[in-house]
Amino acid sequence: MKNPESTPPSFFLHFFRWFCHPSLAKYVEGDLMELYEERVREKGKRNADINFSIDVLLLFRPGIIKPAGYQQLNTYGMYKSYIKVGWRNLVRNKSYSIINVAGLTLSMACGIFIFSLVSQHLSYDNFHHNPDQTYRIVTEMHRDNIGYTNCVPSPLGEYFRNDYTYAEKVARVYMEPGALVTLKRENTLTKFKETDGIAFAETSFFDIFNFPLLYGDAASALTEPNAAIVTERIARKYFGDQDAIGETFWLENKIPFTVKGVLKNLPSNTDIKSEIFVSYVTLKAHSPWLADETGGWGGIRSGMYCYVRLQADASAAKVEEVLSAYVKIHRAESKNVHHYKLQPLNDIHFNAQYGGPMGKNKLWILTILGVFLIATACLNFVNLATAQALRRSKEVGVRKVLGSFRFQLFWQFIFETGIITFMSILAACIIAYVTFPMINTFFNTAIDVNSIVDKWLLLFVLVLGIVVTLLAGYYPGLVLSGFRPVAALKGRLSQQNVGGFNTRRTLIVVQFAISQVLIIGMIVIMHQMKFATQSHLGFDKDAIVMVTMGRDSTGTRASVLKNEITGIPGVEKISLCFAAPSSEYEWGNSIRFDNSVEEVNFRTSMKLADADYLSTFDLELVAGRNLSPSDTVKEILVNETLIHKLNLQSPEEALGRMISANNGSMNGAIVGVVKDFHDKSFHEEISPILITTYTRDYMNYAVKLNMAHAKGVLSDIESLWQQQHPDQIFEYEFLDESIAHFYEAEETMLRLIQTFSFIAIFIGALGLYGLVSFMVSQKVKEIGIRKVLGGTGHHIVWIFGKEFVRLIVIAFLIAAPLGWWLMSNWLKDFEFQTQISSWPFVWAMGCSLVVAAVTVSYQVLTTALMNPVNSLRSE
């Protein structure tokens, strides 16, 4: 009778069991089975199966279906109780809960911020076709030392494309920064300054980089001269809502471009910033030297990039080998020996040597900081939870007596930690979402606020929650679940049973060590920054404004304007020059000394300037005399470093000797030697410098203002300037500000460390506060007895105080060497560095002591000043 044939369709049976009200299930199932077997006997299995299914479906109706939320007999009820008990505990110990939640929230908000920042940087330019096969060709310049540039001689790409088949695509692109774009419409001239510049790109650029075109044809848009592709944003900015295709704009009022295509706006995670792309063939009209396919080998213009996508079977090493052949052919004589290297696309954003904006090591530091902060908050939690453990010994005892296993209790406490963690995570997410825009402006970051809903971030938050729960809950759970029930119920447990003070002392020491390292780092960075921005650079940088010269085909307006500006009251001095003594714009050159045929083996920096340069910037002559006014190269000033590099004994020895620069096109005699000044940031050593007159390449008016009468001078200069150059945009920058820009990365770093050290101290203080209040509540009676026996308030404060002082001293002994080692490594980045003084260490120690004193004293004082009657009367 019971043969396997006669079982009803299992799907419907299971479905029935799932929905049926448990109090009915077994009887109704019995009825169903009885009918089923009868039908099998009478009408066959198939018929019975169908009838069974129909019966089950007809049973699916209210009254039979179990009500929503119906409790089955299982362990869910226990979890519910865990949540309830956990929540009651949180509510009962409000101050502890707030400390825990605040600490975790703050650190996790930092964690989310750091994660978003790091993942955003890791996503840079990862969306192009075949990123693994894509490279940028970069140049190592071997002289007496090695220089690195992310650019190449302009003809390189063209030669490589024609001579070899390794590359699937080769794209040359010249990015001109700060372009002046104008629109000419019926007598009105609209001017735009495009700080992100304009790119002269070959068509293949869009084969390598995945920037989709909205309108126009990518393959043909950039083949013609004077053709352009702009992004949607630029199209809207220039032409409003009308169709941009076919419209015209002008570059530097000189070259017209017709829009042939519109790109989708560039994503934020690309290092390509230019939003205007024009055909590479037009470069001939803009810069004949760059477009010259043979003369271009002579040097490297910054902004001239070459990207390649190699065939699947070609190796980068092989390509580097064939590229080296070009050096022998085209640069046989130069002492500046180029080595062309292939830099992988995914290295571009991170390699500082080649201008990558975010070194991987910085990302690592940030990650470590984030882990530190979260670890500190977890330590706090562990600390507080173990300190509180005694209060719950009775609960643990009762649970164990009623039959709980150790692992069940352990999971109960993990569960409670989970509640706190996920409350904090929720708060952290809200905080992160609200503050991201502020954080972006403060730290110069560009985190997309919408990335908060990114799936990776959600995953990260989830994983973070679980990891923090386990980290913070593991140890307290272990301690609590390990209580022996008899001892726990009899109240015989003492502090020694809950991990002892030593564990907690260690935790406090680690926390303080972390915040002290951060404080030391912060102060050393601040010292170095102050040193870099405030020490005398060898020239005067205050009250000097650099005004960009207008473009001028006649070549006469500059000197006219110079005379006019000199006449403005409030202008002390003015000089026409290529760049300020310290500037990011510089012109590297190889020179021949003393009629030698051989070039010298070091790089020199050309500073083209008129005779007023020395007096405007207050540069000091150590030998010889100033330049005499001239429009072309006649006389040359050099700096002391150049004298040393030439192995001359004294500055006087150089006077009168000839220098030939720029491949022999600039020749002059040395007439003077200037004292060394910092021509670059403190990261780099001082270059050998030539100063000479050459009117054609002047770019700036350096105007020294008398700050007492400076008001209105700038607008006077502007109106004079605009009279001369009505079709261009007036621009100026104060020299001290542009020098401060050298240290932008350090500024950001400093802000990050400042913020994080404050947060670390805050979290540490929270932990300390929790611990102290716990200790105090444990020792209330002891304090009462001491007072009765004649102990004074400060006596009692000291009992607690000396404990913490000792801990802080131990933390300091760990933090000081670690901080010193870390910061001397950091300082190695600077060619000119401050000594690490004792101040950072004093500050670190002092801050921790003050924070500890403030945190500890409030709690201790309230107890110490309490009337002993209150603490002793109840027993």
Binding site: K2, V28, G30, D31, L32
Partner: protein, 116 residues
């Protein structure tokens, strides 16, 4: 007058439980109704009605022995409660009352067709 709520099918089920007396459980009730009234009864409709009756307190149930042919599942036997007895008696009484109130002529075969 909604003293005792009893639907038509519920009434049939209750009466059948009464007929079967000590043998009233799901399948036997179903079969009894099907045989006596020649109508199809689905397990779902029957169980719903039984549950509703039990909720109203008209019938009560107890667990019976489990048998082999029911795959080891126990039977659930139903009995009419005192309240249930009142309810069917009340229903019956209201019917009788209505019956007796019908004039004889209305039911005579002559007039069973169209009215005059």
């Amino acid at each position: 007058m909604k003293k005792f709520q009893l639907g038509e099918f519920e009434e049939v089920v209750m009466l059948t439980v009464g007929i079967l007396y000590s043998e009233a459980y799901g399948v036997s009730i179903k079969k009894e109704i099907e045989v006596r009234l020649s109508r199809k009864v689905s397990v779902g409709a029957l169980q719903t009605a039984l549950k509703r009756l039990e909720d109203k307190g008209y019938i009560k149930s107890h667990e019976g022995e489990s048998t082999q042919e029911r795959a080891g599942r126990p039977k659930r036997y139903f009995m009419i409660t005192a309240l249930g007895k009142k309810a069917i008696e009340y229903t019956r009484a209201t019917r009788e009352e209505l019956w007796s109130a019908i004039p004889k002529i209305a039911l005579s075969p002559k007039f069973s067709g169209q009215p005059l």
